[in-house]
């Protein structure tokens, strides 16, 4: 009985992914353990969604996604704190622009090498950006992080809405994340999305079919950077500060862990993974200082025994089929 009810919910969710997403996250702040967690899950889920487009669907393992998350965060943060732009939309746009330009540049270099080098190169370039931000303290605040980001009210259809209430900020992020999820769905359902999966399954065959796979990979990389950049920009607004660690390799590692826990190559995996990671980190860190040790061990167990992740195992989908 319970099993068949679960089966029916699963079937409905599979057929209506966007509607399920909209419904679930509309009530999520009221069922999450606490409200701040809900916003974090949205933002990190979006970050993981960007990573998942590249790794889960295109088969390219990036260990440097902190770069685009960080570029989004610094882009939006610098626009508000240093350029004193007066519109949140312009600040978000600058963050997205920085992430896209960075993604195109780094993607161009990294895609000159294939296979296993790709992971090392993405990591190396992200670390380069970290050191640049670290040493350019006059602009970025260096080790102290970028401070003094004002949380401006949102101007929409001539009205001005304050985002200072956590719930108001949640629904602001919710609208943007829903848009991003819809865009991702559109990408995956397009012929371009089919080519991405063809590259993941067998890139030589995709070449033989006449696809310019380097161009497709670069586009996938840039889209992925765009989603990561939006997540970073939103997080800069949420925290009103950009810690320099947002560009550090550990941030790249976090998004890898989240995506694999949830299920790489699955539609909801990134959000399931982000929620799992954040709840685990939150609960574990209360009573165990070395909580990343536990996360590391759980992650290893997933790589060994559950490569499809939580959502992939529940729905028998994903990268390890």
């Amino acid at each position: 009985m319970i099993r068949s009810a679960f089966g029916r919910v699963k079937a409905w969710v599979t057929v209506h992914p966007i509607a399920s997403f909209v419904l679930f996250f509309a009530i999520f702040p009221f069922i999450a353990p606490y409200q701040a967690l809900a916003t974090q899950v949205l933002i990190f889920g979006l970050f993981a969604l960007g990573f998942n487009l590249l790794y889960g669907y295109t088969g390219l393992l990036s260990f440097g996604h902190a770069a685009y998350y960080g570029l989004g965060a610094y882009g939006a943060g610098l626009a508000l704190a240093k350029l004193k732009v007066t519109s949140l939309w312009i600040a978000l746009g600058i963050g997205l622009g920085a992430a896209v330009v960075g993604g195109a540049l780094v993607g161009f270099f990294c895609l000159r090498r294939r296979g296993i080098y790709f992971a090392m190169l993405t990591l190396a370039f992200a670390q380069m950006l970290y050191f640049i931000a670290f040493h350019a303290a006059d602009l970025t605040g260096g080790d102290d992080g970028l401070r003094g980001i004002p949380l401006l009210p949102l101007s929409i259809f001539g009205a001005s809405v304050s985002l200072r209430q956590p719930l108001a900020f949640y629904y602001f992020a919710y609208v943007l994340v829903v848009l991003a999820v819809a865009v991702l769905k559109r990408i995956l359902d397009s012929p371009f999305g089919a080519v991405l999966r063809a590259i993941r399954e067998n890139s030589d065959r995709a070449v033989a079919c006449g696809y310019d796979i380097n161009r497709v990979k670069l586009l996938s990389f840039v889209f992925s950077a765009l989603f990561a950049g939006l997540a970073g920009a939103l997080d800069a607004l949420r925290l009103t500060v950009v810690p320099v660690d947002s560009l550090y390799w550990s941030t790249s590692g976090q998004v890898v862990i989240m995506t694999l826990l949830g299920g790489a190559g699955t539609f909801f995996g990134p959000f399931v993974g982000a929620a799992t990671y954040l709840v685990l980190a939150d609960r574990l860190s209360i009573f165990f200082e070395a909580w990343p040790l536990v996360i590391g061990v759980i992650f290893m167990a997933f790589v060994l025994f559950l490569p499809r992740g939580i959502w992939g195992t529940l729905t028998s989908r994903g990268i390890g089929q």
Partner: protein, 294 residues
């Protein structure tokens, strides 16, 4: 005035060789493991860090630097055997991304584990008293310990080269990295060879950690810093190429050391710029063969 800066510059060049030597020890192990097993060992830096910590404790136990120098790499190498046997072996035949992901998790766990066992604050290790002084080379003064590091690095590389070129096991390792299937068809049990190579590579990372401890200090994050530099070395030198690892390792050591001398703020950035330049001009690396494991 010119004299002083010239000798300072020469000292910096020597420091570059020391840094480069450590990188070479690391990158060769990484490259050897990759060449034979197509496993990129993200935890290579974590084993380097562990080598430094194990050396700290062994020094306290044995009171002998020389015993530590031999024992610590053996301890770390043995752990390497266990990791290959219990964890990595399960992933052969899966995507090459999977061992990379697994060892990433392992590295995370090891960094935290080390903090639990040895504390969160970095430790200092003194070089042995016989090597603590600075020696006058005529044109400059240089710490004896650093010359010693250069000598040990060279000896370890020579030993590895003799092992690979002059022994039967070395022959099998070289053949296995060319064509594992054919070697198996000839009746060689490659599982044992993989175990051995993984242990040797990890042991060399441990040795690098032991040597680096007295120069750079012992702290939990030291492994991640060096693994990223090693990735750069391997990209520049060409993965699976041993001469490539040596040339690129020494080159990177010099670049870091000389940039530290002239423009300290750029020292951490310039290695990545060199990497990008190599990618533009020669995407397969200085010594790499295009297409290897791509």
């Amino acid at each position: 005035m010119l004299d002083v800066s010239l000798s300072a510059l020469t000292a910096q060049v020597f420091t570059g060789i020391v840094l480069g030597g450590i990188l070479v020890l690391m990158a060769i192990g990484l490259s050897l493991i990759f060449g034979l097993m197509t496993v990129v060992n993200f935890a290579h830096g974590a084993f380097y860090m562990l080598g430094a910590y194990v050396a700290f404790s062994l020094l306290g136990l044995t009171k002998s630097f020389w015993a530590t120098l031999v024992l610590a790499p053996l301890v770390v190498g043995t752990l390497g055997f266990l990791v290959e046997r219990l964890l990595i072996r399960r992933l052969y035949g899966r995507s090459p991304d999977d061992p990379l992901l697994l060892t990433f998790g392992l590295s995370l766990a090891m960094v935290e584990g080390v903090k639990l066992l040895w504390g969160k604050i970095g430790l200092t290790v003194d070089p042995p008293t016989q090597l603590a002084a600075a020696v006058d080379l005529g044109f400059m003064r240089f710490p004896v310990y650093r010359l010693f590091v250069i000598a040990v690095t060279a000896a370890a590389l020579l030993a590895l080269w003799l092992f690979l070129e002059k022994t039967n096991v070395g022959l099998i390792i070289r053949a296995g990295s060319r064509d594992a299937l054919m070697v198996r068809a000839l009746g060689v049990d490659l599982n044992r060879i993989w175990l051995l190579v993984f242990g040797i590579g990890i042991g060399m990372a441990g040795l690098a950690g032991v040597l680096a401890g007295p120069m750079r200090g012992v702290y939990a994050e030291m492994g991640v810093e060096i693994i990223i530099e090693c990735f750069v070395v391997v990209v520049v030198g060409g993965m699976g190429s041993l001469p490539g690892a040596i040339v690129a390792g020494l080159l990177m050591g010099e670049i870091v050391s000389l940039t530290t001398f002239f423009a300290p703020r750029l020292a951490e950035i310039v290695v990545f710029v060199v990497m990008a330049a190599v990618l533009l001009v020669r995407p397969s690396g200085l010594f790499g063969e295009a297409g290897l494991a791509e």
